[in-house]
């Protein structure tokens, strides 16, 4: 593969990252999508917008989030020096709030008076409901009934925050179907409604915009690791469903050729079983939800259902920039199974006193796999993208899950 001068130039004016991305939406939505793009282009060039975001990042989210040396996990694995980027310590307990702050401020600039969102694990739904409470804007969150069942604490949280949670029974009743319903809502409520997408997917400009809002993660890591170790990390590692926490960590380092990047997909019950959510590892290019990207699909182009113990990774697609970075071989794609993630969930909890979200536990699982081989002196940063309180019911429900 030829090496590019920069991996940070995308997307082009039409939202393409190579063959990926784009704006594959119905005509009714197209003018809205173009309006979001215009508003975002204006906002990103407005220092007042950056100042406003910075204010809420510092005083509301609690940024910067710490970069924590996980000494006991490092000793236990006997190899790479492992740092956690503590996005789990953000207000609302995950990286999702970074993007929500950015988009709610944009929605306000656009004069929108109603917010809709989709959610899988409920972290994005909670973050959206939170910023809507903060700015007193009505909020409707679409969530698959399967996810409502396995993420009950987050459903309760959203309702307390004043959001309406609309259950989605169509299809597999998970994240993909919630996104379909949110798009249908948007088509029917074009005048007043802003669609606050939770990951680096959807039609342009969403993948770019969400990446920009999440890049605060990698920007902080760069400063923090230089401060702590005097050099850049050797390895970056993040779990990947839609891909917003991974891209937020990776993006600022894409042109640092010495930094290896690894994205960990959800292998569910094992890729060979067909019950997984590993679209980069086992999918093929296709068009869904407004963009071209890797999808889990059959030979007729029908979208397959994804499977993962982690609701946040249970999506048959992936952000288009990740698809491009995979083809360019800038980011390596690996996977961890449900069982490996649960084992890592317990290990991290017992060794570090940090209960990771099941999503982030996939990243921890892969660190367990490679830390020894990377060897001492390898500086590794893992994005601890969320906390696991929401997953206690799921884990307790497993055989042998009770402590």
């Amino acid at each position: 593969m030829e090496t590019l001068n920069t991996y940070r130039a995308g997307p082009d004016d039409n939202g393409h990252f190579g063959i990926y991305g784009g704006r594959y939406v119905a005509e009714t939505l197209m003018p809205l999508v173009l309006a979001v793009e215009r508003a975002y282009t204006e906002a990103r060039n407005d220092p007042a917008f950056a100042r406003e975001m910075g204010y809420y990042f510092t005083h509301y989210v609690g940024r910067p989030s710490p970069l924590y040396l996980a000494r006991r996990l490092t000793d236990h694995l006997g190899g790479a020096t492992i740092y956690f980027k503590r996005e789990d310590l953000n207000h609302t307990g995950a990286h999702k709030i970074n993007n929500c702050i950015g988009q709610i401020l944009l929605a306000r600039r656009m004069g929108k008076t109603r917010i809709i969102a989709e959610t899988g694990a409920g972290q994005h739904g909670v973050a959206t409901a939170t910023v809507c409470a903060l700015f007193d804007i009505p909020c409707t969150v679409y969530m698959g009934t399967i996810d409502i069942e396995r993420q009950a604490p987050n459903v309760y949280r959203m309702k307390m925050l004043g959001a309406e949670v609309r259950p989605v029974t169509a299809g597999s009743a998970t994240l993909k179907d919630a996104m379909n319903e949110a798009l249908r809502d948007w088509v029917a409520n074009v005048e007043d409604t802003y669609y606050l997408i939770g990951t680096v997917a959807g039609p342009h400009p969403y993948p770019m915009m969400v990446r920009d809002f999440q890049s605060v993660i990698g920007d902080e890591v760069r400063e923090q690791i230089l401060e702590a170790e005097g050099r850049l990390p050797d390895t970056l590692l993040a779990c990947i469903g839609g891909g917003s926490n991974a891209l937020g960590l990776f993006y600022p380092f894409l042109d640092d050729s010495g930094v290896r990047m690894i994205a960990v997909e959800a292998a569910g019950e094992g890729i060979e079983t067909g019950k997984h959510a590993a679209s980069l590892s086992a999918g093929a290019p296709g068009v869904l939800h407004g963009n071209r990207t890797y999808l889990l699909q059959d030979a007729d182009g029908q979208i397959d259902e994804a499977h993962s113990i982690s609701a946040g990774l249970d999506y048959p697609g992936i952000g288009p920039e990740h698809a491009w970075l995979r083809d360019a071989e800038r980011v390596e794609c690996v996977s961890a199974t449900d069982d490996e993630a649960v084992e890592a969930f317990h290990l991290c909890t017992r060794l570090e006193g940090i209960i990771p979200a099941l999503e982030a536990a996939h990243a921890v699982a892969h660190v367990c796999t490679i830390a020894a081989a990377l060897g001492r002196g390898n500086l590794l940063v893992l994005n601890m993208s969320g906390r696991g309180d929401k997953d206690l019911d799921t884990v307790a429900g497993l055989a042998g899950g009770t402590p």
């Binding site: 005509e27 379909n180 869904l288």
Partner: protein, 282 residues
């Protein structure tokens, strides 16, 4: 025009008759291949002037519950894009006049391969394509190759398509213009007829092409009202709802399912045909 397409010929004939057309939408393979073929072959005789044949997709984002369910039924019964093309081919062997427009979403076409699909569609006798998630911004990918292959590409226009954007959408639309009369998904709310009239007049200021109006037209009365102001009325959800109403508890078609769908097409066609007669007599 040197070579007229079936779509052009049909709209020219409607114009001579002084009436608007009925476009019937059904999903290919719903509720199963055999019944679906029976419905398709009966549509012209029942009064459908043009046929929109839905290409089933697992995630029809712009469709309401009725068409979502019809897609699911078809896929469950084994529908695929190649089966849809085979259906058109067989239909075309018996009917060389009624235009068939395939309607659906891009991913199955993309996975089939655009060039292979266009070649096979043309050979099967497909006249046009409506691909919901293919806006003019992505026209290089399917719209322009379709026109090159001799298949019309019909873009949707919506209430949100303003005068500044309309020329862009109309630039490569061929055959006719499809106006989505509501901001919403299929089979839900219906537009006020005054709004439809104003919208069609706006479109006619921008194009000479016939204007078809769809989304939210369910009854013969609504079809007649739209036919009085547009060149064609599209009815879809009401027809696939009739399919759903004629399934047994196991989801199998009851005897007379196809006849029930075609009877509704007949009622709709009478509504459409009656609409402009009054106007013509004035």
């Amino acid at each position: 025009m040197s070579v007229q397409t079936r779509i052009d010929r049909r709209f020219a004939a409607l114009k001579r008759e002084g009436r608007a057309g009925l476009i019937a939408f059904v999903t290919a393979g719903d509720p199963d291949a055999g019944t679906s073929r029976e419905i398709l072959s009966g549509l012209p005789g029942a009064g459908a002037d043009l046929i929109e044949l839905g290409m089933p997709f697992s995630d029809p984002m712009a469709d309401g519950p009725a068409i979502q369910a019809s897609s699911q039924r078809a896929l469950k019964a084994g529908a695929s894009l190649s089966a849809t093309l085979a259906m058109v081919k067989d239909f075309r062997a018996a009917d060389d006049d009624t235009p068939v427009i395939l309607m659906g979403y891009y991913n199955p076409i993309y996975v089939y391969g655009v060039d292979a699909f266009l070649g096979d569609a043309k050979a099967a006798g497909v006249d046009g394509l409506i691909v919901v998630d293919m806006p003019p911004e992505e026209e290089d990918e399917l719209c322009l190759p379709a026109i090159e292959a001799g298949v019309s590409f019909i873009f949707l226009t919506a209430p949100t398509t303003d005068d500044a954007r309309l020329p862009r959408v109309l630039e490569h639309t061929s055959g006719f213009v499809y106006y989505v009369s509501i901001t919403g998904i299929t089979g839900t709310k219906s537009a006020a007829i005054g709004d439809v009239r104003a919208a069609v007049e706006r479109l006619r200021r921008h194009t000479e092409l016939p204007v078809a109006v769809g989304f939210g037209i369910k009854t013969p009365g609504q079809a007649a009202a739209v036919a009085a102001v547009a060149d064609a009325a599209v009815v879809g959800s009401a027809l696939v709802d009739t399919v759903a109403d004629n399934l047994d508890e196991a989801g199998k078609p009851r005897p007379g399912l196809a006849a029930a769908v075609l009877a509704l097409v007949g009622d709709l066609a009478r509504g459409v045909r009656g609409a402009r007669m009054k106007g013509a007599a004035q």
